[in-house]
């Protein structure tokens, strides 16, 4: 018991701390926690690092995984900025006057997202790309009063399941549009048949789950009914037309590639942007520009009447805590690379993927890219024998291959989705190619 605890107890007229818990009935009491006693800081470090050393990762094992998350190089300046404890240890900026800095940073994040997507407004984040899609579907249902969401069959399985769960409240029905077996892109004839009077939204991804750029976007807009929701890797938008250009109402995506770590799948950054006409129906926290009492520019959280703490069960979403710090990281990343840097990086990703696909295609027993189309930074590799066998051989050679598609897309045959980014050196590609040759 420290002197100050002693003084506080005396001021309260309490004999001991136990007296402060007299209101907890004996019937629900527990006698402490059944855990080991605390460790000193050096022991915590050694315990945690020794466990983590059992992980293998990109640094020592070239890893060609993507499927929505991509290991990009993050400049040290980005981490230096998010390591400012004013940013990482602050709460939601309810009190604007004391929080101008992070509010401005978030306004800048929203602005960068809007430039990339061609939308007018963005929120400060959803949990990840999958919940951003779920929220977009709910928003489309709110706006149109309809219940059907049309989605591509070529969709990450997690994203599909999350969408189903988000749709349970209003009872959204999900209709699936197959992909063309040759090009891997959306089957537009099937899309035409899938949209109806009841369509609240058509969701397409570009680049799609197989990493393919679809240039038939204007045709898709024409066919679509309800809202057009586009899912995009924000980095790809440094080289690809912004979805706002081709009529998207809402743009969602996984923002991790913009300056955030893959981190075994979390925390992630749900990008969510929309046209101005829809902003009052948008979920999540939004920062607006305004004035202070002296007429100076200021920022604050705005349109809060859409949110849970005001609107309660009629709120646009239940989201409260979101992924703010990752949004700050993305703003810093976007600013450090700048428009030129982002474009060069995206271009390099396309080039690297082309080079790698061409090399894999040169190995007997492999087809890459399996689909005849233009790709961003990942592509499907078709293999002569079950991919799982090749996967194991690669691991034994110290290389991590792509995501197996066999369990989720049996119609593609023996195949896997391989991604490459600027973190891969030429030697990494060499190692993969050599390991594939040995495994073929």
């Amino acid at each position: 018991m420290s002197w100050e605890e002693d003084e506080m107890l005396r001021a309260l007229g309490a004999p001991d701390v136990a007296a402060l818990f007299a209101d907890i009935p004996a019937a629900v009491r527990v006698d402490g926690l059944d855990l080991p006693r605390g460790l000193a800081e050096p022991d915590v470090v050694s315990r945690v690092t020794s466990i983590l050393r059992r992980n293998r990762m990109g640094e020592e094992m070239p890893t060609f995984l993507g499927a929505g998350l991509y290991d990009h190089f993050v400049p040290a300046s980005v981490r230096a900025i998010t390591a400012r404890s004013e940013f990482y240890s602050s709460y939601t900026p309810y009190q604007a006057e004391l929080s101008q800095g992070i509010l401005q940073a978030l306004f800048e994040y929203q602005s960068i997202v809007c430039e990339l997507t061609g939308m007018d407004a963005a929120n400060t984040s959803m949990y990840d790309g999958s919940t951003a899609l779920g929220e977009a579907a709910l928003m489309a249902a709110r706006i149109t009063g309809k219940r059907e969401i049309v989605v591509p069959r070529a969709l990450h399985w997690d994203r599909r399941q999350v969408l189903e769960n988000y749709g349970r409240g209003p009872g959204l029905r999900i209709r699936e549009v197959p992909f063309d077996r040759r090009t891997g892109t959306l089957d537009l004839a099937a899309l035409r048949e899938s949209v109806t009077e009841e369509t609240a939204a058509v969701y397409v991804e570009n680049p799609n789950f197989f990493g393919i750029f679809d240039d038939r976007v204007d045709e898709i807009r024409e066919i679509a009914r309800g809202l057009l929701v586009v899912g995009a890797n924000p980095l790809s938008l440094a080289v690809a037309r912004p979805p706002g250009d081709y009529g998207a109402d809402i743009v969602v995506g996984e923002g991790q590639p913009l300056g955030n770590a893959v981190a075994f799948g979390g925390p992630l950054l749900g990008v969510f942007a929309c046209r101005e006409e829809h902003i009052r129906k948008m979920p999540g926290r939004v920062i607006g520009m305004t004035r202070d009492a002296d007429g100076r520019r200021a920022f604050c959280m705005t349109m809060q009447s859409r949110e849970q703490h005001i609107r309660r069960e009629k709120a646009m979403s239940n989201i409260c805590t979101n992924e703010t710090l990752l949004a700050v990281a993305s703003a810093a990343y976007g600013a450090i690379l700048g428009g030129n840097g982002l474009r060069r990086l995206a271009e390099r990703n396309v080039e690297r993927a082309r080079e790698l696909a061409a090399r894999i295609a040169g190995i007997a027993g492999f087809a890459a890219p399996a689909f005849h189309a233009e790709h961003f930074n990942e592509f499907v590799v078709r293999t002569a024998r079950p991919y799982v066998e090749i996967h194991g051989a690669l691991l034994r050679a110290g290389v991590h291959g792509g995501v197996s598609l066999e369990p989720h897309f049996p119609e593609v045959g023996h195949a896997a989705l391989f991604a490459t980014t600027e973190v891969h050196r030429l030697e990494d590609h060499d190692r993969l190619v050599a390991a594939l040759e040995a495994a073929a």
């Binding site: 506080m8 402490g32 602050s90 006057e97 101008q100 306004f107 399941q161 799948g265 840097g341």
Partner: protein, 480 residues
């Protein structure tokens, strides 16, 4: 205390003088999809770092000063956890990696599942939900699956006390459930009203205990009986878990499910509003419905168990906010049973002491003990033409982040204070003294506060009436 926040007339990134734009490289994207323009600034790295450093100086974090936001548990975030979470064995591990290459990550997840289950008095835990509100969503989805599985699928009402967090209402609303509000009496759930509200349509009751007034619901076992007798489930909102570590747990109180806010109780930082983590614990009866995958251990190897036919599926991609789970894991290791018990004891001592100090300046409705927080009323300010918001804003000039204001709704001009355990008596005294001093100040000074922050009182009405949400909207608006 004297305090002046930094003031920088820092322009938007977009307003800084940008270098010229490089031309795109042709032939990399299908022509019909090629992007013509990318209107993002091109600045030297040092300018960007200085820009954000200045912005950070106009932001107030827990390391800057006292941050007694009620129900938010703004406590010190141990620095060692930041270092651990930044290791490449955390940052550069991909969630689609083969399980043989992520045994370390899975071990941490598995042990955290077990530890949190023990802390909560539950049988199993999912680490997947990204935040407390998503934990609620997950819990309610499981409750629905549980009832449907028993052929009792008509239940569609969620009972919520009038002191409940806004997210409880919104989570129920998002899933299309009907909210039935249960009034409180003397700061606790009114049992007679609860008896009337509970019935064959009750899906679940959501309750936080201690409630948002900081009062322990001492008849929680009666509450549990009433809801269980009606066939409903009990969901524990763990936002206030800092008040009960080692003293009681939701399992012991009769709850069937709970979420933890690891970014509150277990110090993973709030990040300016996120990321958080909202693991959900359940009793045996609900375990089959947990999201997939669960992390499993056979004594030699850790694995991801997807073979769970009754699972509700997924509520977000992959397994949870891993980098934050690592921080929470390290925090629990460092605290242990002794440290966590101290956390609650000191948090409760600090709250009761500060309540006592503030009672000489403000009305604190409902007598008696509090747990980790308390709610005062600023209604007495009215006679001087002031409101709670004015007091809150003026506290900033003293170097304090204001408490939560205007919540919970049943307290007039609510002023909701949660000091947490990581504050010294000196700070609590200074805060109470500041409140006392402000109440004696010239009301005009208080009404126009803050005066020492980067900007003066912000016009939130204008922001909502004429929304400017991006650089594009701003440029359009000013006709640029």
């Amino acid at each position: 205390m004297r305090f002046r926040q930094a003031v920088w007339d820092e322009p938007l990134l977009f307003e800084k003088r940008s270098n010229e734009v490089d031309p795109p490289k042709p032939g990399l994207v299908p022509p019909a999809l090629e992007r013509a323009e990318l209107d993002l600034p091109n600045l030297p790295e040092w300018e960007v770092v200085r820009h954000f450093t200045r912005l950070s100086e106009m932001t107030f974090g827990i390391d800057s000063g006292f941050y007694p936001l009620g129900s938010c548990t703004m406590k010190f975030n141990p620095k060692v956890n930041e270092e651990l979470a930044a290791l490449p064995q955390v940052a550069r591990v991909h969630p689609e990696q083969d399980v043989s290459t992520v045994q370390g990550a899975l071990q941490i997840l598995y042990e955290l599942q077990q530890t949190l289950a023990a802390i909560g008095g539950m049988d199993a835990v999912t680490l997947q939900p990204a935040a407390g509100a998503q934990g609620e969503f997950t819990g309610l989805l499981m409750a629905r699956a549980y009832h449907q599985d028993r052929g009792d699928g008509e239940r569609n009402e969620v009972l919520l006390p009038d002191t409940a967090h806004g997210t409880n209402f919104a989570s129920a609303g998002m899933l299309g459930f009907r909210v039935v509000e249960v009034p409180s009496k003397e700061g606790q759930v009114d049992l007679a009203a609860l008896r009337k509200a509970a019935g064959p349509h009750t899906l679940a009751l959501m309750l936080t205990n201690p409630n948002t007034l900081g009062i322990f619901e001492s008849r929680v076992l009666d509450i549990a009986d009433i809801v269980h007798d009606a066939g409903g489930l009990l969901y524990y909102d763990g936002a206030n878990f800092n008040a009960i570590l080692g003293k009681t747990n939701p399992g012991r109180m009769g709850f069937d499910m709970l979420h933890f806010n690891l970014h509150k109780t277990f110090t993973t930082p709030h990040g300016g509003g996120g990321p958080g983590v909202g693991p959900v614990g359940v009793t045996k009866a609900l375990e089959p419905y947990l999201p997939v995958p669960q992390v499993a251990f056979d004594g030699a190897r850790y694995s991801l168990d997807y073979a769970r036919p009754k699972s509700i599926g997924k509520v977000r991609a992959w397994y949870g906010n891993f980098a934050l789970l690592v921080r929470a894991y390290a925090y629990i290791l460092g605290q242990g049973s002794d440290g966590l018990a101290w956390v609650t004891e000191r948090a409760v001592l600090n709250a009761n002491y500060l309540k006592k100090r503030l009672e000489s300046h403000m009305d604190v409705p409902f007598p008696g003990l509090r747990k980790h927080e308390f709610v005062a009323s600023g209604s007495g300010l009215r006679e001087r033409g002031l409101r709670t918001m004015d007091l809150a804003k003026r506290l900033m000039d003293h170097g304090f982040h204001p408490p939560t204001v205007y919540f919970p709704h049943l307290i007039d001009e609510a002023f909701m204070v949660e000091p947490t355990e990581t504050e010294s008596k000196e700070t609590l005294d200074a805060f109470a003294d500041a409140v006392g001093a402000i109440l004696k100040e010239d009301p005009d000074v208080v009404r126009t506060a803050p005066h020492n922050t980067a900007v003066s009182r912000v016009d939130e009405v204008l922001a909502a009436r004429e929304p400017i949400l991006s650089w594009r909207m701003w440029r359009r608006k000013k006709g640029g």
